[in-house]
């Protein structure tokens, strides 16, 4: 593995390893993320609502104050025990570690195009870079690597170097070594397809100023991460809701899901897992999928290139670590999104965290959890979107028909990319609740009151849910709507219990009516 063997990461691991483990973020073995959250009582106030509706709506407008009190924190992402760990991790050590790792990503990731059109990429980069330097007074921006479009910014007040990943600094990069040399990438690494309406807007000067400010905040916050998670969780949540600056995203995601703790606790685990053969059949299944994830992203476009190889390793390592889950096709998109933002080892531990704590049971054989969540979503729709719910109920549309991909891939294949990132920012902070909210929003805006006429049967309705309005999915609107949705952790817990009970009862009924279980029943009905 290129990443694991990179000197940067090694030194990081050594550093992290040598530092005493102050606190292990204990993840209670709860069946579902929101289960723990229910223990805490969320507070409501109308003032908070107003904030949600206004300040987040204009996501491009900076709000200077960062501490807003929203309602429900998701304590499962914090330390359940309120143990303060004395001194936060060595600031520079911790953050530098991230930067080295990020740097590693970039050098690996962009290595391919260096030989080709490094200059062009570099030039574009410089333009933005220049703006950014001008925009911030106490921050000096410098290139760490002349051939790589890797940004490193030294913030004077924290002496942290962050290797900015692709976004903020690379508006357009020509991927010379791709199969089609004329293909251009947008700033997220996706090949530009002029026929698509999903165009990533260029960053404006004020956007960049705002990003700079946020980057500084995030740098400070990541330095004192555990402190923030223990004492100022709402600040973390608010900042996630506003959007994590793209240069910080990988590291922020890793920290949010607790992957960095895992790396520290098991410094060699990923490398060891990669070295293992794995179950031949599972590896075969993974191999069939690695070229089918985001083929329009430069990282995954090249057959058995860096991205595909990393993806194979991450998924294989996961299947070895969690033999009871093995590999599920829904995991590949998740791992791919992670790999776009962080090196393989970090992506691996983030995937583990997501599968364990954010989407538990989603990928296990039987796919029980996703079906249960389908039922839960349907119940929420009844409350939040009664008209669409009525229509779907009438047309006998099962939620599993439209929500499987949404939930399993956390909308990575559904929304425009800028919205995906924002949803993931919130999802990794607040958990599955965000996915439910997002689904509720999508259904409500898609199946309006006139839908009854345009969608006489389930096929038209499903078709509509598969071709969502780009306008409604656009970043600011989507985020605003999600934050407006009044779904709380305790709602999730309650509905979970209700639906689980229903499913259990159904199973019991089935078993009692037909002793030979469902299959026998099916056979009987066939006659």
């Amino acid at each position: 593995m290129s990443h694991t063997s990179s000197p940067g990461l090694k030194s990081v691991i050594t550093r992290l390893d040598s530092s005493p483990v102050r606190r292990r973020r204990v993840m209670a073995p709860t069946p579902l993320v929101y289960a723990m959250a229910a223990a805490k009582v969320g507070r409501q106030s109308s003032a908070e609502d107003d904030y949600e509706k206004t300040s987040i709506a204009a996501s491009s407008v900076i709000t200077t104050s960062t501490v807003h009190s929203y309602r429900q924190p998701v304590p499962q992402l914090r330390s359940p025990t309120k143990s303060h760990h004395s001194a936060s991790r060595r600031i520079s050590g911790g953050a530098n570690s991230g930067s080295s790792i990020s740097g590693g990503t970039n050098s690996t990731r962009h290595h391919r195009r260096d030989s080709g059109d490094g200059n062009k990429a570099g030039n574009n980069y410089h333009t933005i870079n220049g703006e950014m330097t001008a925009a911030s007074d106490n921050t000096s921006v410098s290139m760490t690597n002349t051939t790589n479009p890797t940004m490193s910014l030294s913030s004077s007040n924290s002496s942290v170097t962050i290797g900015a990943t692709t976004a903020t600094a690379q508006p357009k990069i020509t991927a010379e070594d791709q199969t089609s040399p004329e293909k251009q990438c947008n700033r997220f690494g996706f090949f530009v397809d002029s026929s698509k309406t999903d165009v990533v807007p260029e960053l404006k000067k004020q956007d960049i100023d705002l990003i700079r400010k946020r980057e500084k905040k995030w740098i400070q916050m990541l330095d004192k991460w555990d402190k923030y998670m223990n004492n100022r969780w709402k600040t973390v949540r608010d900042r996630c809701r506003k959007g994590i600056p793209h240069s910080m995203r990988g590291q922020a995601w890793l920290y949010l899901c607790g992957g960095h703790h895992q790396i520290r606790l098991h410094p060699n685990a990923y490398r060891d897992l990669c070295a293992q053969e794995g179950n031949e059949q599972i590896v075969d299944e993974i191999r069939k999928d690695i070229h089918r994830q985001f083929p329009n992203h430069e990282l995954f476009a090249q057959p058995l290139g860096t991205g595909q190889t990393d993806l194979l390793n991450v998924l294989k390592a996961f299947s070895i670590l969690k033999p009871d889950i093995g590999y599920c096709q829904g995991q590949a998109p998740i791992a791919s999104v992670l790999l776009m933002h962080m090196p393989a080892e970090q992506a691996f531990w983030s995937l583990v965290a997501i599968c364990d704590h954010y989407l538990p049971g989603y990928f296990s054989p039987g796919l029980e959890a996703i079906q249960l969540h389908g039922d839960m979503l349907f119940a929420f729709l009844k409350r939040f979107a009664p008209n669409p719910h009525r229509l779907m109920d009438k047309q006998k549309i099962e939620p599993i028909l439209f929500m499987t991909e949404w939930f399993m891939c956390v909308f990575a294949r559904t929304l425009p990319w800028t919205s995906v990132l924002r949803v993931w920012d919130m999802f990794l902070c607040e958990g599955i609740k965000i996915v439910f909210k997002c689904a509720i929003v999508l259904v409500s805006v898609t199946l309006k009151s006139d839908t009854k006429k345009t969608c006489p049967s389930m096929y038209e309705t499903l078709e509509k849910l598969r071709h969502l309005s780009v306008y409604h999915m656009s970043e600011p609107l989507m985020v605003e709507s999600i934050l407006r949705c009044e779904l709380h952790d305790q709602d999730l817990q309650r509905e979970h219990n209700i639906q689980e009970k229903k499913r259990r009862q159904k199973a019991v009924q089935k078993a009692s009516t037909s002793p030979k279980s469902a299959m026998a029943k099916t056979n009987g009905k066939r006659k």
């Binding site: 083929p295 096709q329 039987g366 099962e398 049967s457 099916t522 056979n523």
Partner: protein
């Protein structure tokens, strides 16, 4: 809800041969499922047929998806509702719920992948377990353009199909070989089966009201004459 929906989707059992009155301009609606191991080319096959397009840059199917296409067969407008399913085994818990309404199955393997061929029997068992008895099945060996990598010969495919009592085609979604033929043949054999069923069970003929709203006269006896 799950159960009632399954009931409703149990298309072949009664009036579901014909779709809701609201759906204009077709005589019949057939629900067809494409099944088979992961990565045999189910989605590509469907896209080639429905959109006449092919790209090697497909993403793996997570869950279940469908496309609708209307075809003309023997003076009948047949609306095909083609369901594309995730091939991985664990998705069967979700996808098998949708077998019951299906009138036709395209059971696909990849001629360059022995394992996908070996799974055919297993898929047939799945169909037998979860689908309607009269569902028609066509065995399809996809990716026949990749001669160099072929590991399953045409003869083996044909032999297995004969053994299982299925029709057989070798296809290439990439080169557009036999894709249309498979669907046409499937529609034909579903029509045949349907007229048989209707002949043997006259209640089906009288069952639905307003089953078709086209200008064509209502078929007086059995459904499709193809």
């Amino acid at each position: 809800m799950l159960d009632s929906s399954r009931q409703r989707m149990a298309g072949g059992q009664d009036q579901k041969w014909q779709k809701d009155a609201a759906d204009q301009n077709f005589d019949y609606m057939f629900k067809i499922l494409i099944i088979g191991n992961s990565s045999v080319g189910k989605t590509s096959f469907l896209f080639r047929y429905a959109d006449d397009s092919f790209t090697s840059a497909f993403v793996s199917t997570v869950g279940i998806d469908f496309k609708v296409k209307t075809v003309f067969r023997q003076d009948k407008r047949v609306k095909l509702q083609i369901w594309d399913t995730a091939g991985q085994e664990r998705y069967r818990t979700i996808t098998t719920a949708y077998y019951r309404g299906a009138m036709g199955f395209i059971l696909m393997y990849d001629v360059t992948n022995e394992e996908s061929f070996n799974s055919v029997q297993d898929w047939v068992t799945q169909i037998k377990t979860y689908s309607w008895d009269n569902a028609q099945v066509i065995l399809v060996g996809n990716k026949c353009d990749m001669e160099d990598e072929r590991v399953v010969s045409f003869e083996r495919g044909k032999q297995l199909a004969d053994q299982l009592g299925l029709e057989f085609f070798e296809t290439s979604a990439k080169e557009n070989i036999n894709v249309k033929s498979v669907f046409e043949r499937l529609v034909d054999i579903i029509c045949d089966k349907m007229s048989e069923s209707l002949d043997s069970d006259p209640t089906l003929v009288n069952a639905p009201k307003g089953t078709r709203l086209t200008d064509n006269p209502m078929p007086t006896n059995s459904g499709c004459q193809c």
